[in-house]
C-alpha cells in the first residue's frame, strides 16, 4: 500500500512538473511571438506604402492624403518622427532630474512618516488616465503656458531659434511638459526600487570614510544604481514616445518641421489617432498609417537597444567608478 501511494504521488508530481513546465514555456515564448506577430501585422499592413514611397517615406515632409488634382497621395513621415523625438527629449529633460530627486528623497532622506504618503501620491499620478491629463492640458496648461511661460522664454531667450517666434500655447513645448508630468511617476517608482536595492554596506562604507549625505548619494548610491536608473529612463521614454491622447490634445496637429518649440507639430501616435477613421478606401493612406506604426515600433525597439547597451557598459565600469 505504502509503496503504491508513493509511486502514485511520484507520478502525480512528475505530471504536475510537466504541466507547469509546459505553461512556463508557453508563457516565455508568448512575448517574442506576440512581438513578432505585431511586427508582421504592421509590415504586412504597410506593404502598399512601402512599395509606393520606399525610403522616401522616412525623409518626406509633405503630407497630402487627398491631392486636389485627384492624384495619388503624397505622404512623408519626417514631421511626425521629428515631433515624436523632440517632445520625448523635452519630456526626459524635465522628467529625469525630477524623478531622480523624488526617488532619492523617498529612499534616502524622507522621514518614515512622509515616505509612504509620498510614494502613494506619486503612484496616484500614474493612475490618472491620459485623457484627463489632456483635458487638464488644454483647459489649464495651454492658457498658462501661452500667458506666462512661453512669452517669458521668447522675451529672454528669443535670439535662440528654438525659443523664437509666436506662441499660443499649443505646440511641442507644452506637449513635452505634459509628457514629463505623465512619465515622472514611472521613472520615480523604478528609480526608487533600484536605489532601495543598493546594499547598506555601500552607504556605510562611504559614511565611515567621512562622507556626508550628498557625497554618499553621489559616490555610493548613484554609481551602484546607475544601470537601474538607465533602465528607468528607457521605460519612461517608451511611455513618452507612445503616448497618444494627451499629446493629440495639446500639440496642435500640424505636419510641420519648425525649429521653434512653441509651434504646433505632430507625433506618430497623434497622426494615427487623428486620421485612421477617414482612410476607408484609400489603400496607400491606410498603409502609410501602418508604416508610421512600424516606424514607432522600430524607434521604441532602437531606444530599448541603446538602453541595454548603456546598461551593459555601465555595469562593466561600475566596479571601478565606486573607487573614485
Amino acid at each position: 500500500m505504502q509503496t503504491e501511494i508513493e509511486k502514485t504521488r511520484a507520478r502525480q508530481r512528475a505530471r504536475h512538473h510537466d504541466f507547469l513546465h509546459a505553461i512556463l514555456i508557453v508563457a516565455a515564448f508568448a512575448i517574442p511571438i506576440i512581438a513578432a506577430l505585431t511586427f508582421y501585422a504592421l509590415f504586412n499592413g504597410s506593404l502598399d506604402s512601402i512599395q509606393a514611397f520606399g525610403f522616401g517615406f522616412l525623409t518626406g515632409t509633405a503630407w497630402v492624403p487627398n491631392p486636389p488634382n485627384g492624384g495619388p497621395p503624397i505622404l512623408g513621415a519626417l514631421p511626425a518622427i521629428y515631433g515624436s523625438v523632440v517632445t520625448t527629449l523635452i519630456s526626459l529633460l524635465f522628467a529625469v532630474p525630477i524623478s531622480l530627486g523624488i526617488a532619492l528623497f523617498q529612499s534616502e532622506l524622507a522621514p518614515r512618516r512622509f515616505r509612504l504618503p509620498s510614494i502613494f501620491l506619486v503612484e496616484l499620478l500614474a493612475a490618472v488616465p491620459s485623457v484627463v491629463y489632456g483635458l487638464w492640458g488644454i483647459l489649464f496648461l495651454v492658457p498658462f503656458m501661452s500667458t506666462y511661460i512661453d512669452p517669458g522664454l521668447i522675451g529672454s531667450l528669443g535670439f535662440i531659434p528654438i525659443f523664437a517666434g509666436e506662441t499660443n500655447g499649443l505646440g511641442m513645448f507644452t506637449a513635452g511638459i505634459i509628457l514629463a508630468i505623465m512619465i515622472i511617476p514611472y521613472g520615480a517608482a523604478v528609480m526608487r526600487e533600484v536605489i532601495a536595492a543598493v546594499p547598506r554596506s555601500q552607504r556605510e562604507a562611504c559614511i565611515a570614510l567621512g562622507g556626508n549625505t550628498v557625497e554618499t548619494v553621489r559616490m555610493a548610491v548613484i554609481p551602484y544604481a546607475s544601470t537601474g536608473i538607465i533602465a528607468a529612463i528607457v521605460l519612461a521614454m517608451g511611455r513618452a514616445i507612445g503616448e497618444t491622447m494627451a499629446v493629440t490634445m495639446v500639440i496642435g496637429n500640424v505636419a510641420r518641421i519648425s525649429p521653434s518649440l512653441f509651434l504646433p507639430s505632430e507625433t506618430i501616435p497623434s497622426v494615427i489617432a487623428n486620421e485612421f477613421t477617414e482612410v476607408a478606401g484609400n489603400n496607400i493612406y491606410l498603409a502609410s498609417l501602418f508604416e508610421l506604426g512600424l516606424i514607432l515600433f522600430a524607434i521604441a525597439f532602437l531606444m530599448n537597444l541603446i538602453g541595454r547597451v548603456l546598461i551593459s557598459r555601465l555595469t562593466f565600469h561600475g566596479g571601478t567608478s565606486t573607487h573614485v
Binding site: 497630402v64 492624403p65 499660443n168 500640424v254 505636419a255 477617414e278
Partner: protein, 430 residues
C-alpha cells in the same frame, strides 16, 4: 486511499466549478444581449434630454425659425403613408457613422421605439469614414455620412444608395474677446478672405482686407491662430467644398475632401493648428485669443463663440441660422433627382441663403438582402423607420438645431425609399 479520493473530489469540485462559471458566463452574456437594447435606449434618452437642455440655451437661433418652415415640413409629414404597420416579432437594427447627425438619429430611435416597441434601433457615432467602411463591409444595417460618397466609394459597395436625412451649416467662429470684440459682434467674411486666412496669406487680424470688410470694428494687430480639424470630417468636406466652389485658387491648390492639407500649416509666418473633432476646434477657439475656426453651427452657439457672417452668391453677408441654412437648401440649383441624391448646396443662390451648408446622408443597400446580417423582417422594419424619419422624424429637428428637410428633397427621398426591396420585393408601397 482516503487521501487520494479526497484529492479526486477536489479535482471534481474544480471541474464542477469551471462548468458553473462557464454556464454563468453564457447566461450572463445572453442576459446582457437581451437587456442591451433597453439599456442603450435609456442612455440615448439621457442624451436627448441633454441635447434639449443645450437647445434651450441656444434659443437665440431657434427663435429665428419662422412658422413657414414648420408648415412646410408638417405638410410633408401628412403624406406619410405607413398604414397598419405594427410588427410583433422583435427586431433590432444596427446603424453607425457620422457624429454630426447623432443626437437627431438617437432621438428618432427613441421616439420610434415608443411607437413601435418591437423595433429597437441603435446608432453609434463613429465618424463618417468609419460609417462608410462599416456599411461597405456589411457589418451594420445602415450607415451615415456627412460627405456624399465618391463614385469610387460607391463602386466598392455595389447596390449601396444614399439619401439626405437632415442638413446643417458650418459656422466661422472667432475669439477676439481680449481686444474688446465680444461674441455678439458679427464680423464679415468673404470666401476669398477665408481662403487667404486658411492659406496663410492673411496672418494678422488688422489686415487691410479684413478691415475693409468690417468698418466700425477696430480689429487688433494680432496674429491669427487658424484652427482646423486634425481628423477627417464631413464638416471639413463642406467647408473646403465651399472654398473650392468660390475661390479658383483654393480649388487648384487645396481642393476639397474630408481631410485636406492646409497650406497655413507650413507657410512661414502663418500659424495653423489642428484640433480633433468639433468639440476640439470649438475648445481651441474658446481658449485661444485671436483664433479663428470652423465648426458645425450648434458647437459655435453652445460654446458662445463669435459667429461670422459670410458673403453668399448674391453678395450679401449672411449669418448662419436655421432659417438661412434652409433658404440655401430651398434655393439650391436644380430639382433633386432620386437616382443620385448627392446634393451640393454650398454657395446657393438666394438673397438670404447661408453659403456653407451641407446635407448629411443615410446609407443603405437598395436590395437589403445584399447585406447578410439584414433579415427580411429587419429590412421591412428599417425601410419603415427611414420613411418615418424623413416625414414625422423631421419634427424633432429644430429643437436640436437641425434644419428640417425641404419638401422637394423629402419628395425625392420618398421616390428613392420606394425602390428599397428585399430580393426584388418592394419593402414600402406608395
Amino acid at each position: 486511499m482516503i487521501r487520494m479520493s479526497s484529492k479526486n473530489t477536489k479535482r471534481n469540485v474544480g471541474i464542477v466549478a469551471l462548468v458553473v462559471v462557464i454556464l454563468a458566463a453564457v447566461a450572463g452574456g445572453y442576459y446582457f444581449t437581451t437587456m442591451n437594447n433597453t439599456q442603450s435606449m435609456s442612455e440615448t434618452s439621457m442624451m436627448t434630454s441633454q441635447s434639449s437642455m443645450m437647445s434651450s440655451e441656444t434659443s437665440m437661433v431657434t427663435s429665428i425659425m419662422t412658422s413657414a418652415t414648420m408648415t412646410e415640413t408638417s405638410m410633408a409629414s401628412m403624406t406619410s403613408s405607413v398604414a397598419a404597420y405594427q410588427p410583433t416579432t422583435p427586431v433590432s437594427i444596427l446603424g453607425a457613422g457620422a457624429t454630426f447627425p447623432q443626437p437627431l438619429i438617437q432621438t428618432w430611435t427613441v421616439e420610434y421605439n415608443k411607437l413601435y416597441p418591437a423595433v429597437s434601433i441603435s446608432y453609434s457615432g463613429i465618424g463618417s469614414g468609419a460609417g462608410i467602411q462599416q456599411i461597405t463591409l456589411k457589418t451594420v444595417d445602415f450607415g451615415a455620412s456627412d460627405a456624399p460618397l465618391s463614385d469610387a466609394q460607391l463602386a466598392r459597395a455595389p447596390g449601396l444608395v444614399l439619401f439626405p436625412e437632415t442638413l446643417g451649416g458650418v459656422a466661422i467662429t472667432y475669439n477676439l474677446a481680449a481686444w474688446g470684440i465680444t461674441n455678439t459682434t458679427v464680423l464679415n467674411f468673404t470666401p476669398a478672405v477665408i481662403a487667404d486666412i486658411y492659406m496663410g496669406t492673411i496672418t494678422e487680424w488688422n489686415d487691410p482686407a479684413l478691415v475693409a470688410l468690417n468698418p466700425g470694428v477696430s480689429l487688433p494687430s494680432a496674429f491669427i491662430t487658424v484652427v482646423h480639424r486634425s481628423d477627417g470630417s464631413g464638416t471639413t468636406y463642406a467647408f473646403t467644398n465651399f472654398l473650392s466652389v468660390t475661390v479658383p485658387n483654393w480649388a487648384a491648390q487645396v481642393g476639397y475632401s474630408t481631410s485636406v492639407t492646409w497650406p497655413v500649416d507650413t507657410k512661414p509666418g502663418a500659424y495653423g493648428v489642428g484640433a480633433k473633432g468639433n468639440p476640439g476646434v470649438a475648445g481651441t477657439v474658446l481658449n485661444t485669443h485671436g483664433a479663428i475656426g470652423y465648426v458645425d453651427v450648434i458647437y459655435a452657439v453652445s460654446n458662445h463663440l463669435g459667429v461670422g457672417a459670410v458673403q453668399n452668391a448674391a453678395g450679401n453677408f449672411v449669418a448662419p441660422t436655421l432659417q438661412t441654412i434652409l433658404y440655401a437648401a430651398q434655393n439650391a440649383t436644380g430639382t433633386p433627382n432620386y437616382q443620385d441624391l448627392r446634393l451640393h448646396i454650398v454657395n446657393a443662390a438666394g438673397a438670404q441663403s447661408y453659403p456653407i451648408a451641407t446635407y448629411t446622408y443615410i446609407l443603405v443597400y437598395r436590395d437589403m438582402s445584399a447585406n447578410p446580417s439584414t433579415t427580411e423582417a429587419k429590412a421591412e422594419a428599417l425601410a419603415q423607420f427611414l420613411w418615418w424619419a424623413i416625414h414625422d422624424g423631421q419634427q424633432y429637428s429644430t429643437a436640436l438645431i437641425y434644419v428640417p428637410l425641404p419638401a422637394n428633397v423629402v419628395a425625392a427621398d420618398e421616390q428613392l425609399l420606394l425602390t428599397l426591396n428585399y430580393q426584388g420585393t418592394p419593402l414600402l408601397t406608395g
